[in-house]
């Protein structure tokens, strides 16, 4: 991206680029992506499930036309799975094959120290780059054209793993004890997502731009539906969005997210629905709500909610 662009144009360019990749971003999101590129900083995205945190990373990759490297975090994830591992079997195999060769080389020496010195001359052949199995983080640093590194659901990993990420987040480099420091060829765009299952450490937060994505405004959500489910008539789209908006005002265990709205719009499209009737809504409510308790809360109120949604004005 041209760094000489003035901020307004640059942010607009981000907005447009993401839109082309099918991601309708709010002003905050575009600004965050713009700043991440300008300041070479990772973005930490927090927010409820299904508001498009992971999608953001995918869309940036699609827009910039670079690779997306995804690392899903889980409890017990360690550096052997995240960064690199030695190819033990290959090392073993090679030592077996090279055994005779080694015998030849060492055989000529007379004393043990001399043999040792000779071995030293060959260097750490078995602990070189050839025998390293790169995992997502190392892969991301090795991409020549840069990439989007998505560290998904970081809150699921252990606190120690978080600390381990700090080096890559702040300096875009990692250290492998046997080989040394490996710095990024091209700095990747790093996106971390979190569902706030646990509080992340301050050290991690300090190194990131913190973006909170909440439920979108009705107008924005209508645009998202328009992009994602193009077949839905604009009248129905407005009703879908304002209905979901009304549902979110209720006290539910799990509020329907953007992804649920999209799914619901798809279902309604498949059913050839042209308007929201209580019956259709009641039949398809299970797409929107994921808990029995929530269904029980919403079902009796469907007619009322539709009525409210009709009255609520959604511009755009």
């Amino acid at each position: 991206m041209d760094s000489l662009l003035d901020p307004a144009t640059a942010i607009e360019a981000v907005d447009r680029g993401l839109a082309e990749a099918g991601y309708i971003a709010s002003r905050q999101i575009s600004t965050a992506v713009f700043l991440a590129q300008r300041l070479d900083k990772p973005i930490l995205v927090e927010g409820p499930a299904g508001v498009g945190k992971t999608e953001l990373a995918k869309s940036i990759a699609a827009w910039q036309n670079i690779e997306l490297i995804r690392m899903q975090c889980y409890e017990g994830l360690d550096e052997a799975k995240a960064l690199y591992e030695w190819k033990y079997a290959k090392q073993l195999l090679y030592t077996q094959i090279l055994k005779d060769k080694l015998g030849e080389v060492i055989g000529q020496t007379e004393t043990l120290p001399a043999a040792l010195a000779r071995l030293h001359d060959f260097g750490d052949i078995f602990f070189s780059k050839q025998f390293v199995e790169p995992r997502p983080l190392l892969q991301a640093l090795e991409q020549k054209d840069g990439c989007v590194l998505l560290i998904d659901e970081i809150d699921k990993a252990d606190a120690e793993f978080e600390a381990f990420l700090l080096e890559i987040l702040s300096d875009y480099q990692i250290t492998i004890p046997e080989i040394g420091r490996i710095a990024a060829v091209t700095k990747p765009i790093v996106i971390l997502t979190s569902n706030a299952n646990r509080d992340l450490g301050d050290a991690l937060k300090r190194r990131c731009i913190h973006l909170h994505i909440g439920f979108p405004e009705p107008r924005l959500e209508a645009r998202i539906i328009e992009t994602r489910v193009p077949g839905v008539a604009s009248e129905l789209r407005k009703k879908i969005v304002s209905f979901v908006h009304e549902v979110r005002t209720l006290d539910l265990k799990k509020l329907p997210s953007v992804s649920e709205t999209i799914d619901w719009a798809r279902v309604l499209l498949l059913l050839h629905t042209s308007s929201l009737s209580s019956e259709v809504v009641r039949d398809t409510l299970n797409v929107l709500l994921k808990y029995e308790v929530d269904m029980e809360t919403v079902t009796p109120q469907v007619a009322e909610l539709i009525d409210k949604a009709e009255r609520a004005f959604v511009p755009g």
Partner: protein, 465 residues
């Protein structure tokens, strides 16, 4: 690079940001030096031209939680609000009106003396808002307004700023006019408007800059106030304080539950781990010792004055969630019931109301409650459980049933008795503390947030060695 035509001030932008960071710390954002550097480069990247964009950039780089974002947004709005003397517009309209009326014969106010006015008076009469604003900001700078620490300094700073702007001269001008028999109403209006604007500016500065100090002071006091004498308006704040303390403890004790025990090879695990390369041990697995997270059974007296303390103890324990593996809570006054389910599902204040509804506000009967516990829930106590009893030990002269407590203490890993009364009151009147104490691993007074914190820290430390 920093194009700032729309910026409200002509001062060094960096200085402006630094003051904004101070204000932001006051509303609870923890801004470290690298973060402030990030914020500065972010601001440099987006520029000052668009306020909404500036706000987005600061919110993205400084605030790291949703609460911080809300607080910071509010702080931003106050900070970048430019002070304006309210009466100036009127003064300007008045000036126009006066000009017109002066042309008419019999205009009631003579403007003849205008050229003898001092600088400030001329500035005010000209109705130049920009100039007045700039003068105010300059005077505020000269008076070090951002150094204000306590709200009691309001008068001091207001008068200092007005002084710097040349208030004395203005007063003289007004007095001179009055002495000459004129009634300089417009000038007096403008003076009052200016005073008000300066006062408002100082008030904003108080909101922005004193919060940090005041907040710390108030929290410090709250830590040491007996919980059952807490004022209603302080309860919410104390909840926050306890939540914050719990968060810190949780972060600390959420760390690895295993102690590395290098030196003793776990042969079985090593063989299994290395099976894929024919059992040659490339990777060694060492024996590890698990460190237990505390398992807690809490028995809380919720009668009368102890209820408030119980609420905070439970708030503390339940905020520790991941750092504690298991917690069961029983509430009692006249009888004892299991309230774990209520506490698991609800926010603590709602849950407490629910608990109160279930248990009622009766007078406490320790003997009966202990008996209830032994009959129904004793099986939940094992040699790994820490039993916490919170109560004043005032049995209303009923049988204390120390025998049950003895049996509990024999089963449990330890029994901790927390008493909201100070130690000197134990054993006075109907307090049976001295008879309960022998069966407790230890007993502590626990009436303030600070004492509460100490107890919880000790609790977390105990199983780690």
């Amino acid at each position: 690079m920093l194009s700032s035509p729309a910026s409200a001030t002509t001062r060094e932008p960096d200085d402006l940001l630094l003051r904004f960071f101070r204000a932001a710390r006051g509303v609870g954002c923890r801004i470290s030096p690298p973060e402030s550097m990030d914020a500065m480069s972010a601001v440099a990247a987006v520029g000052y031209a668009d306020k909404a964009r500036l706000r987005d950039a600061l919110l993205l780089t400084i605030a790291k939680t949703q609460e911080e974002k809300d607080a910071l947004a509010e702080c931003f709005d106050i900070f970048f609000k430019s002070p304006e003397p309210r009466n100036l517009e009127e003064a300007q309209e008045d000036a126009e009106a006066a000009d017109q009326s002066a042309e008419e014969p019999g205009g009631n106010e003579s403007e003849g003396g205008s050229e003898q006015y001092g600088e400030l008076a001329r500035m005010l009469m000209s109705g130049d808002r920009g100039a007045v604003q700039a003068a105010m900001t300059a005077a505020a700078d000269a008076a070090n307004l951002s150094e204000i620490r306590f709200f009691t300094q309001r008068g001091l700073y207001s008068s200092r700023i007005l002084e710097m702007m040349g208030m004395a001269q203005l007063e003289d001008d007004i007095a001179a006019q009055q002495a000459a028999g004129n009634q300089p109403q417009r000038l007096m209006n403008a003076r009052d408007g200016l005073r008000e604007a300066v006062r408002e500016m100082v008030n904003d500065a108080i909101t922005l800059y004193t919060r940090e100090g005041t907040e710390a002071l108030r929290n410090d006091i709250l830590r040491n106030v007996p919980l059952n004498r807490l004022e209603r308006q302080d309860i919410e704040r104390t909840r926050k304080l306890v939540g914050e303390m719990a968060r810190r403890l949780r972060d600390k004790y959420n760390k690895p539950r295993r102690k590395k025990n290098r030196g003793r090879l776990d042969t079985r695990k090593t063989i299994r781990r290395n099976a894929s390369w024919g059992g040659i041990p490339f990777i060694t697995v060492w024996k590890q010792k698990r460190v237990d997270k505390p398992k807690i059974v809490a028995l809380c007296d919720v009668s009368g004055s102890v209820a408030r303390v119980a609420e905070f103890l439970l708030l503390f324990l339940y905020s520790l969630n991941e750092a504690i593996s298991d917690i069961h809570t029983y509430a009692f006054s006249g009888r004892l019931v299991d309230v774990s389910e209520i506490l698991d599902g609800n926010a603590i204040d709602k849950a407490m109301q629910e608990v109160m509804k279930t248990v009622g506000y009766g007078s406490s009967d320790y003997g009966k409650s202990f008996a209830d516990f032994e009959d129904n829930f004793m099986s939940g106590v094992t040699n790994r459980t820490t039993v916490i009893i919170l109560g004043d030990g005032r049995t209303n002269n009923l049988d204390p049933r120390t025998d049950i407590l003895r049996r509990i203490s024999e089963r449990a890993r330890r029994v901790i008795w927390l008493n909201p009364e100070p130690r000197f009151a134990w054993g006075t009147g109907d307090s049976e503390m001295p008879r309960y104490q022998p069966y407790c691993t230890f007993s502590r007074p626990c009436g303030t947030v600070r004492q509460l914190e100490r107890v919880v820290v000790d609790l977390m430390e105990m199983d780690r060695h």
